[in-house]
Protein backbone atom coordinates (compact mmCIF):
# COMPACT_ATOMS: atom_id res chain seq x y z
CA UNK A 1 0.00 0.00 0.00
CA UNK A 2 1.55 3.27 -1.10
CA UNK A 3 1.52 6.01 1.53
CA UNK A 4 -0.02 9.37 0.88
CA UNK A 5 2.22 12.38 0.91
CA UNK A 6 2.35 14.38 4.11
CA UNK A 7 1.33 17.93 4.65
CA UNK A 8 4.21 20.29 5.32
CA UNK A 9 5.43 19.88 8.86
CA UNK A 10 8.22 21.76 10.54
CA UNK A 11 10.28 19.88 13.08
CA UNK A 12 13.09 21.01 15.30
CA UNK A 13 15.76 18.43 15.99
CA UNK A 14 18.86 19.76 14.32
CA UNK A 15 19.10 23.33 15.54
CA UNK A 16 17.66 22.95 19.00
CA UNK A 17 20.42 23.54 21.49
CA UNK A 18 21.26 21.02 24.13
CA UNK A 19 23.95 20.56 26.71
CA UNK A 20 23.80 16.78 26.50
CA UNK A 21 26.56 16.03 24.06
CA UNK A 22 29.01 14.92 26.75
CA UNK A 23 26.42 12.58 28.22
CA UNK A 24 25.43 11.20 24.84
CA UNK A 25 29.02 10.62 23.79
CA UNK A 26 29.86 8.79 27.00
CA UNK A 27 26.69 6.74 26.94
CA UNK A 28 27.19 5.75 23.31
CA UNK A 29 30.76 4.54 23.63
CA UNK A 30 29.63 2.18 26.37
CA UNK A 31 26.95 0.59 24.24
CA UNK A 32 27.70 -2.47 22.11
CA UNK A 33 28.82 -1.39 18.65
CA UNK A 34 26.35 -3.73 16.93
CA UNK A 35 23.52 -2.15 18.90
CA UNK A 36 24.51 1.33 17.69
CA UNK A 37 24.72 0.11 14.10
CA UNK A 38 21.31 -1.54 14.36
CA UNK A 39 19.87 1.67 15.77
CA UNK A 40 21.07 3.60 12.71
CA UNK A 41 19.88 0.93 10.31
CA UNK A 42 16.40 0.76 11.79
CA UNK A 43 16.12 4.55 11.69
CA UNK A 44 16.46 4.27 7.89
CA UNK A 45 18.48 7.49 7.85
CA UNK A 46 19.82 8.20 4.37
CA UNK A 47 22.65 10.52 3.48
CA UNK A 48 21.59 14.16 3.45
CA UNK A 49 24.22 15.48 1.04
CA UNK A 50 22.15 14.51 -1.97
CA UNK A 51 23.12 10.92 -2.78
CA UNK A 52 20.96 9.34 -0.08
CA UNK A 53 22.98 6.22 0.77
CA UNK A 54 21.71 4.42 3.91
CA UNK A 55 23.91 5.69 6.73
CA UNK A 56 23.59 2.62 8.97
CA UNK A 57 24.73 0.39 6.14
CA UNK A 58 27.68 2.68 5.39
CA UNK A 59 28.90 2.57 9.00
CA UNK A 60 28.29 -1.21 9.16
CA UNK A 61 30.33 -1.90 6.00
CA UNK A 62 33.20 0.27 7.17
CA UNK A 63 33.23 -1.32 10.63
CA UNK A 64 33.46 -4.75 8.94
CA UNK A 65 36.26 -3.72 6.61
CA UNK A 66 39.70 -5.14 7.20
CA UNK A 67 42.40 -2.96 8.62
CA UNK A 68 43.25 -1.05 11.76
CA UNK A 69 43.75 2.28 9.99
CA UNK A 70 40.37 3.86 9.31
CA UNK A 71 39.04 7.39 8.93
CA UNK A 72 35.92 9.42 9.65
CA UNK A 73 35.46 12.35 7.30
CA UNK A 74 32.86 15.07 7.57
CA UNK A 75 32.06 16.44 4.13
CA UNK A 76 31.67 20.17 4.70
CA UNK A 77 32.38 21.12 1.10
CA UNK A 78 28.81 22.32 0.64
CA UNK A 79 28.83 23.80 -2.84
CA UNK A 80 25.63 22.78 -4.62
CA UNK A 81 23.97 26.00 -5.79
CA UNK A 82 21.23 27.00 -3.42
CA UNK A 83 22.53 24.99 -0.47
CA UNK A 84 23.64 26.68 2.71
CA UNK A 85 22.32 24.49 5.53
CA UNK A 86 25.65 22.87 6.45
CA UNK A 87 27.14 26.28 7.11
CA UNK A 88 24.34 26.95 9.60
CA UNK A 89 24.71 23.56 11.26
CA UNK A 90 28.46 24.05 11.72
CA UNK A 91 27.87 27.57 13.03
CA UNK A 92 25.05 26.82 15.46
CA UNK A 93 25.39 23.20 16.61
CA UNK A 94 28.90 22.00 15.69
CA UNK A 95 29.25 19.84 18.80
CA UNK A 96 26.52 17.55 17.44
CA UNK A 97 28.63 16.90 14.35
CA UNK A 98 31.79 16.31 16.39
CA UNK A 99 30.01 13.93 18.78
CA UNK A 100 28.59 11.98 15.84
CA UNK A 101 32.07 11.71 14.30
CA UNK A 102 33.53 10.37 17.54
CA UNK A 103 30.75 7.80 17.95
CA UNK A 104 31.30 6.75 14.35
CA UNK A 105 35.01 6.39 15.10
CA UNK A 106 34.21 4.23 18.07
CA UNK A 107 31.94 1.98 15.98
CA UNK A 108 34.20 1.50 12.97
CA UNK A 109 37.47 1.46 14.90
CA UNK A 110 38.95 4.80 13.93
CA UNK A 111 40.58 7.51 16.04
CA UNK A 112 41.07 9.93 13.16
CA UNK A 113 38.46 12.47 12.21
CA UNK A 114 38.79 15.12 9.51
CA UNK A 115 36.42 17.93 8.60
CA UNK A 116 36.94 19.02 4.99
CA UNK A 117 35.76 22.61 5.14
CA UNK A 118 35.26 24.48 1.88
CA UNK A 119 37.52 27.50 1.34
CA UNK A 120 34.47 29.74 0.96
CA UNK A 121 33.69 29.05 4.64
CA UNK A 122 37.16 30.01 5.90
CA UNK A 123 35.57 32.35 8.46
CA UNK A 124 34.19 29.25 10.22
CA UNK A 125 37.67 27.79 10.75
CA UNK A 126 38.64 29.58 13.95
CA UNK A 127 35.27 29.28 15.74
CA UNK A 128 35.12 25.61 14.74
CA UNK A 129 38.65 24.96 15.99
CA UNK A 130 37.66 26.43 19.34
CA UNK A 131 34.77 23.97 19.62
CA UNK A 132 37.10 21.16 18.53
CA UNK A 133 39.57 22.08 21.27
CA UNK A 134 36.81 21.93 23.86
CA UNK A 135 35.65 18.62 22.41
CA UNK A 136 39.16 17.16 22.40
CA UNK A 137 39.64 18.17 26.01
CA UNK A 138 36.54 16.21 26.97
CA UNK A 139 37.61 13.19 24.91
CA UNK A 140 40.94 13.11 26.76
CA UNK A 141 39.08 13.36 30.04
CA UNK A 142 37.02 10.25 29.30
CA UNK A 143 39.98 8.42 27.75
CA UNK A 144 38.48 8.44 24.28
CA UNK A 145 41.18 8.47 21.62
CA UNK A 146 39.69 10.51 18.78
CA UNK A 147 41.28 13.53 17.16
CA UNK A 148 39.53 15.87 14.77
CA UNK A 149 41.35 18.18 12.38
CA UNK A 150 40.05 20.70 9.88
CA UNK A 151 41.33 20.55 6.30
CA UNK A 152 40.58 23.66 4.25
CA UNK A 153 39.41 23.45 0.65
CA UNK A 154 40.40 26.04 -1.96
CA UNK A 155 37.40 26.69 -4.17
CA UNK A 156 36.54 23.54 -6.11
CA UNK A 157 32.95 22.27 -6.19
CA UNK A 158 33.96 18.81 -7.37
CA UNK A 159 35.89 18.21 -4.14
CA UNK A 160 32.50 17.60 -2.55
CA UNK A 161 32.40 14.30 -4.45
CA UNK A 162 33.62 11.74 -1.95
CA UNK A 163 36.51 10.24 -3.94
CA UNK A 164 37.56 13.66 -5.22
CA UNK A 165 37.68 14.75 -1.59
CA UNK A 166 40.11 11.92 -0.80
CA UNK A 167 42.32 13.01 -3.69
CA UNK A 168 42.26 16.60 -2.45
CA UNK A 169 43.05 15.53 1.12
CA UNK A 170 46.01 13.62 -0.30
CA UNK A 171 47.41 16.78 -1.87
CA UNK A 172 46.30 16.13 -5.43
CA UNK A 173 43.89 17.54 -7.97
CA UNK A 174 40.31 16.83 -6.90
CA UNK A 175 39.64 14.29 -9.63
CA UNK A 176 37.09 11.58 -8.75
CA UNK A 177 38.18 7.97 -8.68
CA UNK A 178 36.42 4.96 -10.13
CA UNK A 179 33.93 3.20 -7.87
CA UNK A 180 34.22 0.38 -6.85
CA UNK A 181 36.19 0.28 -4.65
CA UNK A 182 33.85 2.21 -2.38
CA UNK A 183 35.05 4.39 0.53
CA UNK A 184 33.98 1.80 3.10
CA UNK A 185 36.85 -0.42 1.97
CA UNK A 186 39.14 2.06 0.25
CA UNK A 187 38.81 5.78 0.87
CA UNK A 188 41.24 8.31 2.29
CA UNK A 189 44.77 6.92 1.86
CA UNK A 190 42.98 3.90 0.36
CA UNK A 191 41.86 2.91 3.84
CA UNK A 192 38.31 2.15 5.05
CA UNK A 193 36.58 5.50 5.45
CA UNK A 194 33.17 6.73 6.52
CA UNK A 195 32.50 9.98 4.70
CA UNK A 196 29.26 11.71 5.63
CA UNK A 197 27.63 15.05 5.00
CA UNK A 198 27.44 17.53 7.90
CA UNK A 199 23.66 17.21 8.17
CA UNK A 200 23.74 13.42 8.07
CA UNK A 201 26.07 13.41 11.08
CA UNK A 202 23.79 15.85 12.91
CA UNK A 203 20.86 13.47 12.34
CA UNK A 204 22.82 10.51 13.77
CA UNK A 205 23.24 12.63 16.91
CA UNK A 206 19.43 12.95 17.12
CA UNK A 207 19.09 9.19 16.68
CA UNK A 208 21.67 8.35 19.35
CA UNK A 209 20.00 10.79 21.69
CA UNK A 210 16.34 9.89 21.20
CA UNK A 211 16.49 6.46 19.60
CA UNK A 212 15.67 5.34 16.07
CA UNK A 213 11.89 5.35 16.47
CA UNK A 214 11.60 9.11 16.99
CA UNK A 215 13.39 9.66 13.68
CA UNK A 216 11.65 6.80 11.84
CA UNK A 217 8.19 8.06 12.86
CA UNK A 218 8.71 11.14 10.72
CA UNK A 219 8.53 11.08 6.98
CA UNK A 220 7.15 8.40 4.68
CA UNK A 221 8.17 4.98 3.39
CA UNK A 222 11.69 5.08 1.88
CA UNK A 223 12.09 8.65 3.14
CA UNK A 224 12.14 8.54 6.88
CA UNK A 225 12.95 11.41 9.15
CA UNK A 226 13.38 15.11 8.64
CA UNK A 227 15.59 17.10 6.30
CA UNK A 228 17.04 20.57 6.50
CA UNK A 229 16.06 22.60 3.46
CA UNK A 230 17.84 25.65 2.06
CA UNK A 231 15.19 27.85 0.49
CA UNK A 232 15.96 30.82 -1.76
CA UNK A 233 14.88 32.64 -4.89
CA UNK A 234 11.45 34.19 -5.40
CA UNK A 235 10.10 33.53 -1.94
CA UNK A 236 8.98 35.78 0.90
CA UNK A 237 10.53 33.31 3.35
CA UNK A 238 14.08 32.55 2.26
CA UNK A 239 16.15 30.66 4.79
CA UNK A 240 16.78 27.31 6.42
CA UNK A 241 13.93 25.08 7.51
CA UNK A 242 13.88 21.57 8.93
CA UNK A 243 10.89 19.75 7.48
CA UNK A 244 9.52 16.24 7.49
CA UNK A 245 10.30 14.36 4.30
CA UNK A 246 7.53 13.26 2.00
CA UNK A 247 5.70 16.52 1.33
CA UNK A 248 4.29 17.34 -2.06
CA UNK A 249 5.86 20.17 -3.96
CA UNK A 250 2.43 21.81 -4.18
CA UNK A 251 2.23 22.07 -0.40
CA UNK A 252 5.79 23.34 -0.37
CA UNK A 253 5.03 26.07 -2.89
CA UNK A 254 1.81 27.01 -1.08
CA UNK A 255 3.93 27.63 2.00
CA UNK A 256 7.06 29.17 0.47
CA UNK A 257 6.05 30.55 -2.91
CA UNK A 258 5.30 34.19 -3.65
CA UNK A 259 1.96 33.39 -5.27
CA UNK A 260 3.39 33.33 -8.76
CA UNK A 261 5.74 30.33 -8.70
CA UNK A 262 6.50 29.13 -12.20
CA UNK A 263 9.02 26.43 -11.32
CA UNK A 264 11.10 25.02 -8.48
CA UNK A 265 14.65 23.76 -8.81
CA UNK A 266 14.88 20.77 -6.47
CA UNK A 267 18.40 19.72 -5.55
CA UNK A 268 20.44 22.52 -7.03
CA UNK A 269 21.99 22.59 -10.47
CA UNK A 270 22.43 18.79 -10.22
CA UNK A 271 18.76 18.41 -9.50
CA UNK A 272 15.50 18.77 -11.34
CA UNK A 273 13.46 21.76 -12.42
CA UNK A 274 9.81 21.05 -11.71
CA UNK A 275 7.24 23.17 -13.60
CA UNK A 276 4.03 24.36 -11.98
CA UNK A 277 1.90 21.77 -13.73
CA UNK A 278 3.83 18.98 -11.98
CA UNK A 279 3.82 20.40 -8.43
CA UNK A 280 0.93 18.26 -7.26
CA UNK A 281 2.36 14.94 -8.40
CA UNK A 282 5.93 15.58 -7.17
CA UNK A 283 7.00 14.43 -3.73
CA UNK A 284 10.21 15.38 -1.97
CA UNK A 285 11.88 12.16 -0.93
CA UNK A 286 14.19 9.37 -2.00
CA UNK A 287 13.48 6.86 -4.77
CA UNK A 288 10.94 4.28 -3.94
CA UNK A 289 7.54 3.19 -5.09
CA UNK A 290 5.90 6.50 -4.24
CA UNK A 291 3.03 7.87 -6.28
CA UNK A 292 4.13 10.29 -8.97
CA UNK A 293 7.65 11.58 -9.10
CA UNK A 294 9.87 11.40 -6.06
CA UNK A 295 12.93 13.60 -5.98
CA UNK A 296 15.87 13.20 -3.66
CA UNK A 297 17.74 16.35 -2.79
CA UNK A 298 20.59 17.80 -0.74
CA UNK A 299 17.91 20.23 0.34
CA UNK A 300 18.43 23.08 -2.09
CA UNK A 301 15.06 24.48 -3.12
CA UNK A 302 15.10 27.48 -5.43
CA UNK A 303 11.80 29.04 -6.41
CA UNK A 304 11.30 30.98 -9.64
CA UNK A 305 8.31 33.14 -10.50
CA UNK A 306 6.94 34.01 -13.91
CA UNK A 307 9.41 36.87 -14.37
CA UNK A 308 12.34 34.43 -14.60
CA UNK A 309 13.76 33.13 -17.84
CA UNK A 310 14.30 29.38 -17.88
CA UNK A 311 16.91 29.87 -20.57
CA UNK A 312 18.95 32.04 -18.20
CA UNK A 313 18.63 29.33 -15.57
CA UNK A 314 20.00 26.63 -17.83
CA UNK A 315 22.73 28.92 -19.11
CA UNK A 316 23.78 29.63 -15.52
CA UNK A 317 23.82 25.94 -14.55
CA UNK A 318 25.78 24.86 -17.62
CA UNK A 319 28.30 27.64 -17.11
CA UNK A 320 28.68 26.39 -13.53
CA UNK A 321 29.25 22.78 -14.58
CA UNK A 322 31.56 23.68 -17.44
CA UNK A 323 33.71 25.60 -15.00
CA UNK A 324 33.59 23.13 -12.13
CA UNK A 325 34.09 19.96 -14.18
CA UNK A 326 37.41 18.40 -13.20
CA UNK A 327 38.03 17.70 -16.87
CA UNK A 328 39.42 14.19 -16.61
CA UNK A 329 36.68 12.37 -18.51
CA UNK A 330 35.63 13.30 -22.01
CA UNK A 331 31.84 12.94 -21.65
CA UNK A 332 31.73 15.61 -18.93
CA UNK A 333 34.57 17.86 -20.06
CA UNK A 334 33.41 18.12 -23.66
CA UNK A 335 29.75 17.45 -22.92
CA UNK A 336 29.36 20.44 -20.62
CA UNK A 337 31.08 22.72 -23.14
CA UNK A 338 28.95 21.47 -26.02
CA UNK A 339 25.66 21.68 -24.13
CA UNK A 340 26.40 25.29 -23.22
CA UNK A 341 27.53 26.22 -26.72
CA UNK A 342 24.52 24.37 -28.09
CA UNK A 343 21.82 26.19 -26.16
CA UNK A 344 23.48 29.53 -26.88
CA UNK A 345 23.46 28.71 -30.60
CA UNK A 346 19.82 27.67 -30.60
CA UNK A 347 18.87 30.79 -28.68
CA UNK A 348 20.69 32.99 -31.15
CA UNK A 349 19.11 31.20 -34.07
CA UNK A 350 22.50 29.89 -35.25
CA UNK A 351 21.18 26.35 -34.90
CA UNK A 352 17.61 25.25 -35.67
CA UNK A 353 15.32 24.17 -32.83
CA UNK A 354 15.60 20.40 -33.58
CA UNK A 355 19.25 20.69 -32.49
CA UNK A 356 17.84 20.57 -28.97
CA UNK A 357 17.04 16.90 -29.53
CA UNK A 358 20.71 16.26 -30.34
CA UNK A 359 21.68 18.07 -27.14
CA UNK A 360 19.21 16.01 -25.11
CA UNK A 361 20.77 12.86 -26.54
CA UNK A 362 24.20 14.20 -25.56
CA UNK A 363 23.07 14.85 -22.00
CA UNK A 364 21.72 11.30 -21.86
CA UNK A 365 25.05 9.96 -23.06
CA UNK A 366 26.79 11.92 -20.30
CA UNK A 367 24.43 10.34 -17.80
CA UNK A 368 25.63 6.86 -18.77
CA UNK A 369 29.27 7.48 -19.47
CA UNK A 370 30.58 10.23 -17.19
CA UNK A 371 32.96 9.06 -14.50
CA UNK A 372 31.26 10.73 -11.55
CA UNK A 373 28.06 12.27 -10.29
CA UNK A 374 28.77 15.72 -11.71
CA UNK A 375 28.76 14.64 -15.34
CA UNK A 376 26.02 12.11 -14.67
CA UNK A 377 23.70 14.72 -13.13
CA UNK A 378 23.89 17.44 -15.77
CA UNK A 379 21.12 15.67 -17.67
CA UNK A 380 18.77 16.15 -14.72
CA UNK A 381 18.45 19.90 -15.06
CA UNK A 382 19.17 19.91 -18.78
CA UNK A 383 16.36 17.54 -19.67
CA UNK A 384 13.86 18.90 -17.14
CA UNK A 385 14.36 22.48 -18.33
CA UNK A 386 14.49 21.79 -22.07
CA UNK A 387 11.55 19.38 -22.03
CA UNK A 388 9.30 21.56 -19.87
CA UNK A 389 10.25 24.96 -21.26
CA UNK A 390 11.29 24.20 -24.79
CA UNK A 391 9.74 27.39 -26.12
CA UNK A 392 12.06 29.47 -23.95
CA UNK A 393 15.16 27.82 -25.42
CA UNK A 394 14.38 28.88 -28.96
CA UNK A 395 15.04 32.20 -30.62
Amino acid sequence: MIEQHLLLKRVDFIFVHDTDWEKILQKSIHRPKQELINELISSELKGRGGAGFPTGLKWKLTSEANGSEKYVICNADEGEPGTFKDREILTRVPYKVLTAMAICGFIIGSNNGIIYLRGEYKYLENPLNEVINEFSYFCKKINLDFTIKIFMGSGAYICGEETAMFESLEGKRGEPRNKPPFPSVSGFRNKPTVINNVETLAHTYTIFKYGAKKFYDLGVQYSRGSKVFSISGDTPKPGIYELELGMSLQDFVDEFGDGDTKAVQVGGASGFLVPRKKFKETVIGYQGKLVGISLPTGGSMMLFNSSRSMYNLLDNYLEFFREESCGQCTPCRIGCQQLLAGIKAVKKGERPAPYLEKLLKLSETMQYTAKCGLGQSVANSFASIVENFREEMIY
Partner: protein
Protein backbone atom coordinates in the same frame (compact mmCIF):
# COMPACT_ATOMS: atom_id res chain seq x y z
CA UNK B 1 58.57 37.65 5.35
CA UNK B 2 61.08 36.35 2.84
CA UNK B 3 59.59 33.66 0.63
CA UNK B 4 61.94 30.78 1.32
CA UNK B 5 61.76 31.38 5.06
CA UNK B 6 57.98 31.47 4.84
CA UNK B 7 57.87 28.15 2.99
CA UNK B 8 60.17 26.46 5.52
CA UNK B 9 57.96 27.79 8.29
CA UNK B 10 54.84 26.43 6.58
CA UNK B 11 56.50 23.06 6.02
CA UNK B 12 57.53 22.92 9.67
CA UNK B 13 53.88 23.49 10.55
CA UNK B 14 52.16 21.24 8.01
CA UNK B 15 54.80 18.63 7.26
CA UNK B 16 56.77 17.72 4.17
CA UNK B 17 54.60 15.03 2.60
CA UNK B 18 52.34 15.22 -0.44
CA UNK B 19 49.43 15.76 1.95
CA UNK B 20 51.07 18.94 3.21
CA UNK B 21 50.96 20.47 -0.25
CA UNK B 22 47.56 22.13 -0.23
CA UNK B 23 47.90 23.78 3.21
CA UNK B 24 51.36 25.06 2.20
CA UNK B 25 50.07 26.45 -1.11
CA UNK B 26 47.25 28.15 0.80
CA UNK B 27 49.78 29.60 3.26
CA UNK B 28 51.89 31.06 0.45
CA UNK B 29 48.84 32.63 -1.22
CA UNK B 30 47.83 34.07 2.15
CA UNK B 31 51.04 36.10 2.43
CA UNK B 32 52.07 36.67 -1.21
CA UNK B 33 48.56 37.00 -2.69
CA UNK B 34 49.45 34.60 -5.48
CA UNK B 35 51.62 31.65 -6.48
CA UNK B 36 54.66 32.62 -8.49
CA UNK B 37 56.72 30.15 -10.49
CA UNK B 38 59.47 30.72 -7.99
CA UNK B 39 57.29 29.90 -4.99
CA UNK B 40 56.16 26.65 -6.58
CA UNK B 41 59.73 25.68 -7.39
CA UNK B 42 60.74 26.42 -3.79
CA UNK B 43 57.85 24.33 -2.49
CA UNK B 44 58.75 21.45 -4.78
CA UNK B 45 62.32 21.53 -3.44
CA UNK B 46 61.18 21.71 0.18
CA UNK B 47 58.73 18.82 -0.22
CA UNK B 48 60.93 16.86 -2.64
CA UNK B 49 58.13 16.75 -5.21
CA UNK B 50 58.35 17.27 -8.95
CA UNK B 51 57.58 20.90 -9.74
CA UNK B 52 55.07 19.73 -12.33
CA UNK B 53 53.12 17.92 -9.62
CA UNK B 54 53.04 21.05 -7.47
CA UNK B 55 51.89 23.08 -10.47
CA UNK B 56 49.34 20.44 -11.41
CA UNK B 57 47.73 20.45 -7.98
CA UNK B 58 47.87 24.22 -7.56
CA UNK B 59 46.18 24.99 -10.89
CA UNK B 60 43.14 22.91 -9.94
CA UNK B 61 41.89 25.20 -7.18
CA UNK B 62 40.19 28.49 -8.01
CA UNK B 63 41.33 30.23 -4.81
CA UNK B 64 44.98 29.62 -5.63
CA UNK B 65 45.72 32.47 -8.02
CA UNK B 66 48.59 32.65 -10.50
CA UNK B 67 48.57 36.33 -11.18
CA UNK B 68 49.46 38.81 -8.49
CA UNK B 69 46.25 39.74 -6.70
CA UNK B 70 45.58 42.85 -4.68
CA UNK B 71 45.69 42.94 -0.92
CA UNK B 72 41.92 42.56 -0.94
CA UNK B 73 40.40 40.09 -3.39
CA UNK B 74 36.73 40.75 -4.04
CA UNK B 75 34.87 37.62 -5.10
CA UNK B 76 31.29 38.25 -6.28
CA UNK B 77 29.00 35.21 -6.50
CA UNK B 78 27.62 34.61 -9.98
CA UNK B 79 25.54 31.48 -9.39
CA UNK B 80 21.80 31.47 -9.99
CA UNK B 81 20.28 32.92 -6.80
CA UNK B 82 22.75 35.82 -6.65
CA UNK B 83 22.57 36.25 -10.41
CA UNK B 84 18.83 36.81 -10.37
CA UNK B 85 18.94 39.06 -7.34
CA UNK B 86 21.14 41.71 -8.90
CA UNK B 87 24.73 40.47 -9.07
CA UNK B 88 25.35 42.46 -12.24
CA UNK B 89 24.36 45.72 -10.59
CA UNK B 90 26.80 44.94 -7.80
CA UNK B 91 29.57 44.28 -10.32
CA UNK B 92 28.84 47.54 -12.12
CA UNK B 93 28.97 49.45 -8.83
CA UNK B 94 32.36 47.93 -7.99
CA UNK B 95 33.74 48.43 -11.49
CA UNK B 96 32.54 52.01 -11.48
CA UNK B 97 34.01 52.84 -8.09
CA UNK B 98 37.36 51.09 -8.44
CA UNK B 99 37.77 51.63 -12.18
CA UNK B 100 38.66 48.00 -12.83
CA UNK B 101 36.91 45.14 -14.63
CA UNK B 102 36.51 41.50 -13.65
CA UNK B 103 39.91 39.84 -13.62
CA UNK B 104 41.81 43.07 -13.00
CA UNK B 105 43.56 44.66 -10.03
CA UNK B 106 43.78 48.33 -9.07
CA UNK B 107 47.14 49.92 -9.95
CA UNK B 108 47.94 50.56 -6.28
CA UNK B 109 47.59 46.83 -5.57
CA UNK B 110 44.76 47.31 -3.13
CA UNK B 111 41.88 45.44 -4.82
CA UNK B 112 41.30 42.62 -7.28
CA UNK B 113 37.90 41.70 -8.66
CA UNK B 114 36.80 38.21 -9.68
CA UNK B 115 33.58 36.26 -9.97
CA UNK B 116 33.12 33.06 -8.02
CA UNK B 117 30.55 30.29 -7.70
CA UNK B 118 27.95 29.69 -4.99
CA UNK B 119 29.16 31.07 -1.66
CA UNK B 120 26.34 29.51 0.34
CA UNK B 121 24.39 32.70 1.14
CA UNK B 122 21.60 32.29 -1.41
CA UNK B 123 18.86 33.33 1.03
CA UNK B 124 20.62 36.68 1.40
CA UNK B 125 21.65 37.23 -2.20
CA UNK B 126 23.51 38.89 -3.75
CA UNK B 127 26.68 38.07 -1.85
CA UNK B 128 30.42 38.58 -2.09
CA UNK B 129 33.53 37.85 -0.07
CA UNK B 130 36.50 40.17 0.36
CA UNK B 131 39.39 37.89 1.27
CA UNK B 132 37.57 35.78 3.87
CA UNK B 133 34.95 38.24 5.03
CA UNK B 134 31.46 37.71 3.66
CA UNK B 135 28.96 40.45 2.76
CA UNK B 136 25.34 39.69 1.90
CA UNK B 137 22.07 41.37 0.89
CA UNK B 138 24.16 43.71 -1.21
CA UNK B 139 22.93 46.82 -2.96
CA UNK B 140 25.06 49.22 -5.01
CA UNK B 141 24.79 51.61 -2.07
CA UNK B 142 25.96 49.03 0.46
CA UNK B 143 28.83 47.99 -1.79
CA UNK B 144 30.09 51.57 -1.99
CA UNK B 145 29.97 51.79 1.79
CA UNK B 146 31.89 48.53 2.23
CA UNK B 147 34.55 49.48 -0.30
CA UNK B 148 34.84 52.85 1.42
CA UNK B 149 35.89 51.06 4.59
CA UNK B 150 38.44 48.96 2.70
CA UNK B 151 39.82 52.05 0.99
CA UNK B 152 40.78 53.44 4.37
CA UNK B 153 42.57 50.28 5.52
CA UNK B 154 46.36 50.22 5.61
CA UNK B 155 48.14 48.23 2.94
Amino acid sequence: MELHKRIVELADLHGRTRESLLPILQGVVECENYLSKRSMTEISKELDLPAAEVYGTATFYSFLEFRKMGKFTIRVCKTISCSMKGKNQILLAIEDMLKIEIGQSTPDGRFSLVETNCLGWCHKAPAMVINHEVFTELTPEKVREILGVYLKKEI
